[in-house]
Amino acid sequence: AQIGPPGIELQSTNGVIKVKVSPPEGNQVRKMWVDHLSFKYNLVIWENSSNAEFRSETIFPTDIIDDLAPDTTYCLKVQATLPLYSLEGLFSPIRCVKTTHKVNDLLCAKNVSVLSLNMKFHLHWNNQYKQHVSYNVQYLIGYLKKLHDDYSVKWLNVPGCENITDTQCNFSSIITTILGFYYLRVQAVSEYNRSCLSNEVKVDPLITNEIGPPGVKVDISDVLLHIQITPPGGSESEVMRDHYDLSYRVLYWKNSSNNEEEIKMKELKQTIGTVSDLTPSTLYCLKVQAFSEVYNKSSHYSKEECITTPGEQMLSLIILATFVTALVAVLLVAMPFVFVLYQAYNKIKYAFFPSCQPPLNIEGFGGQRFSSPCLSTTEEPIENCSIIETIITEEVDQIDFKDYKHSKQSSRDSGNYSNDDDTSGTKVSEETLEKEVV
């Protein structure tokens, strides 16, 4: 199977040649090669003079050939190839064209370049124009160049970089697919609405991007150095980790006055790691670099972080200090507790087992030891005492009733008295009642 010649249209403007290629079999109804998008076009160009060198390059269906000498006749031919089958088609007929005079327009932006760090993309260019100029940065999604359609209308403005005077632009917002090409160009516009388009720059995000240095923190415990790495990129760190499959390289060394210490290296896949086999009482320094093995990219090294390993004496001091602190802490907690317990014990002992001693003169009473409690629970038997007033009542019968009353009243002030004499008793009881009523 043979691939036929493609068709070409040429246009010579401003020192460059614009080429438009139409696929082989063009507008045939029945095509052998249905998928015309698979074709890759190979252009061969040379100066129409003797001993001219052939130049061969792959071009898109619509493309521009620059870096040509002005006012020179060039001849070219194009062939369609199918790289997939290693097939090369027939060349088109040779066409010759003369390049025009190149106008060096100072208005156009020059040296358009891309700087990218941690998936933040910036476009930079130079301005040579003396008067006022404003810029529009435009982008094109890569695959559109592969199609045969006219992509010149498909350039879009980068948001935030329209009508600017600054010679740089942050175009991170338009990179929506990490996997895919983008083209960028700068349109310079003068005061009189004259415009000029710069050269295009191709961006392959993962290839163009540079990985920034990671952050690092160190911690020491005994003879182990703990490393904690902050991945580069901040908000974009996950994207980078995902697509680059990042690993980290740690360089560590003894920072002594003798600078001939060996630098050791450790590779980490995770963001945490430890370094062992360290000598005590030594100052160690380290720095970390992020790298992608598959993309063959590595970042700059992080800042150096230094830490001293604890010495052996230091170690025993630390142990002693820890022990003492623990002891003090325990005592501080235990002491009040013990005090409270002691107080409680005292109270209980006082209540249930009193240590009150009896007075010496009563000691040995009845041969009994005073073991009975101070707090008596039962009443002591009280003797019933009675006062007998017999003489006073006999004398009263003979005297006047008034006198009898008076003496009775005076002598009757306390205690119980027995009722030996019934009659006198009743009289007495009456008087008692009287007195009690009063």
């Binding site: 790289p83 997939l84 290693s86 695959y143 996997l179 995902d242």
Partner: protein
């Protein structure tokens, strides 16, 4: 052909092999990511498969044996060709499908980048030569031609696009499985 000639060819092929494989370490990882992305974008592009299109469903029968050739290198070329076919299909008239334009653009852009990378990285002459002789390649061409004709016959209407999208999804899932084993 004499022995000396064969040795020469052998040396050239060896050199091309060494040179071509140097800058392409990132390709397997990138390819897995592109396929993951592409599957997500295919889902994002449109809504759920419309019920009314079930009647028109066609069985295209993807030739799975093309992904299980004798040589591992040929699988890479097979994948490259499949990507090219899918890229071609999705470059057609999609107005009636009314899908999300941004998702579609991202899908095409990812595929295109992979095609370019594969072309640059895969060992050129030798493997492509073997691939051109591969029987299954013709079956693959026939499969995609069938889809292309189906779309043309239905004048690229909504149902034909939805059926094709589902078919491409199945295709990419198969490739995903194969790539993970490589």
């Amino acid at each position: 052909m004499n022995a000396f000639g064969l040795i020469q060819i052998g040396l050239i092929l060896l050199c091309t092999t060494t040179i071509s494989s140097l800058q392409c370490n990132h390709l397997p990882l990138q390819q897995r990511k592109v396929i993951e992305n592409s599957l997500q974008l295919l889902d994002k592009m449109g809504k759920k498969f419309p019920q009314q299109c079930l009647r028109e469903k066609m069985s295209f029968r993807f030739p799975e044996q093309v992904l299980k050739p004798r040589q591992k290198e040929t699988v890479k070329v097979a994948i490259e060709e499949i990507f090219q076919h899918i890229f071609y299909i999705f470059s057609k008239n999609l107005t009636l499908a009314a899908w999300d334009g941004t998702a579609l653009e991202q899908f095409q852009n990812g595929l295109y980048q992979q095609i370019e990378q594969l072309e640059a990285c895969v060992i050129k002459k030798q493997t492509h030569y073997f691939w051109s002789k591969e029987v299954n390649r013709l079956k693959l061409n026939k499969y995609f031609k069938k889809i292309d004709c189906f779309l043309k016959d239905k004048q690229h209407n909504l149902c034909s696009w939805e059926i094709s999208r589902a078919e491409m999804r199945r295709c990419l899932q198969l490739i995903d499985k194969v790539i993970r084993k490589l």
